[in-house]
Symmetry: C2
Subunit: 206 residues, 2 copies
Amino acid sequence: MTLTETAGRARVLRIAAALFAERGFHGTSVRDIAVACGMRPSSLYNHVQDKNDMLVEIVGRYLDALDAVLPDASSAPGDGAARLDAMIRASLAAARAHPDEFLTLSNSWTHIRRAPELAGIVVRRDAGRALWADALAAGVADGSLRAGLDPGEVLRIIFSALHGSLDHRFDVPEAAAAPAGSADTLVALLLDGLRPRPEPRTESAG
Amino acid sequence: MTLTETAGRARVLRIAAALFAERGFHGTSVRDIAVACGMRPSSLYNHVQDKNDMLVEIVGRYLDALDAVLPDASSAPGDGAARLDAMIRASLAAARAHPDEFLTLSNSWTHIRRAPELAGIVVRRDAGRALWADALAAGVADGSLRAGLDPGEVLRIIFSALHGSLDHRFDVPEAAAAPAGSADTLVALLLDGLRPRPEPRTESAG
DNA sequence: GTCTATAGGTAGATAGAC
DNA sequence: GTCTATCTACCTATAGAC
C-alpha cells in the first residue's frame, strides 16, 4: 500500500511519543522504541535521524497545535480573566489533542533545556509564556484578576495545573478510571477556586 | 574527627539530591554525583550502597518530614476547606524544608514506580494521598468545597500545583528572581481562585 | 526497509593497592 | 576512605549484506 509510504515514520514517532511521555527522554532507550515498533534498533534509523530528532518532531507537533490556538485565545475579547479563561481552554484542548506530545515536552524538559541543539523548543515555549504573562498582567490591571499574588508563581502553578490535569502518572490504581473530562474543572479551580462562590452566576467568556 | 563519621554520607546525599532534583534520576549518573562531590565514582560506594539507595534515602527524608505534619493537618479542626487549607500549608512547608528531596520524588516518579525495590516509596505516597482524598470528600459533603468537580482531577491539580509552586525549572531567566514566598499564593489560588472574591473576608483556619 | 554485526562510548558497580 | 584499574552491560549510532 503506497498509503503507508510515510506511515513508518509516523508510527515510529507515535510509539516513541508514548514511551517518552510515560518514562521521559532519558528513561526511554532507542532500543525500547525499536522493540515497541517490532523492529531492530538499527532499522529505526531508516525513519528518524537520531533520538533528538524524534524529540524535536514530537514536541514540535504539540507546539504547532498550541500556536494554532493560543495567540487567538490570548487576544480574546473581554477582560484579563476572560483572556486567561480562553487560554486555559485552548491550551488544554491542544494538550488533549496531543497528550503524549504534551507530556513528552513536560517530562523531558530538563534534557531539552540542557541540549543546545534543542534550543528551538525552548524559544517557542518561552514565546508562549509571554502571552500568559501578558494576560495575567492585564487581568490584574483591569481588576478582573486579584492583585497581590506573585505573577511568576501564579504562572508556574497554572502550567503545572495544566500538566496535572492531564498526567495520570501519579494516580493510584483505583483512581485510574477517570474519563476524558472537560476543561471546566481546571478553569473553575484556577479562576474561582475550590471554595463555592457566594453568587453562583458565571462571568466566564464563552 | 569522629563528628564527621557520617558527614561524608550526608554530604553525598545532599549533593545527589540537588542533581536528582535538577536533572532527574535517569539524567544524573553516578559519575556526575561523584564529580560534584570531588571524588571518583568508586569512592562514592564507601558512602552509599548503590544509586537506588541514594534515591530511597533522599525521598524518604522528604516523606518523613511530610508524615510529621500532614496527618495533624488533615485532622485539623474546622470544615473540609479548613482541613485542605492546613494540608496545603503543611505540604508546602515540608517541601520547602526539603526542596531537592521533594523535587527528586516528583521528577523521578516514573522510575520509582517502575522499580520493584522502590515500592516502599510508592506505598508511603499513596497513604498520604488518601488523606487528601478524605479531606476533599469531607469538604464537598459539608458544603465548604464546591461539588461537581472530578475528585481525581482535583487531586492531580492540587499536587501538581504544589509542584509548580516550588519547581523553577520552567522559568524564563528573567523570572528567576522570585524569592521564597509564603504559602498564601498557593492557598489563595487553589481555594479562592484567581478572580477576586466579592467579599474580601477570609474564612481560612489559622 | 529490514536485518546482522559492530563500533565507540558510557552506564552502574567491584577488586584490591595504599 | 580514596585511589587506579577494570568488569559487564547497555547506550546511541553506523556499515553493509539482503
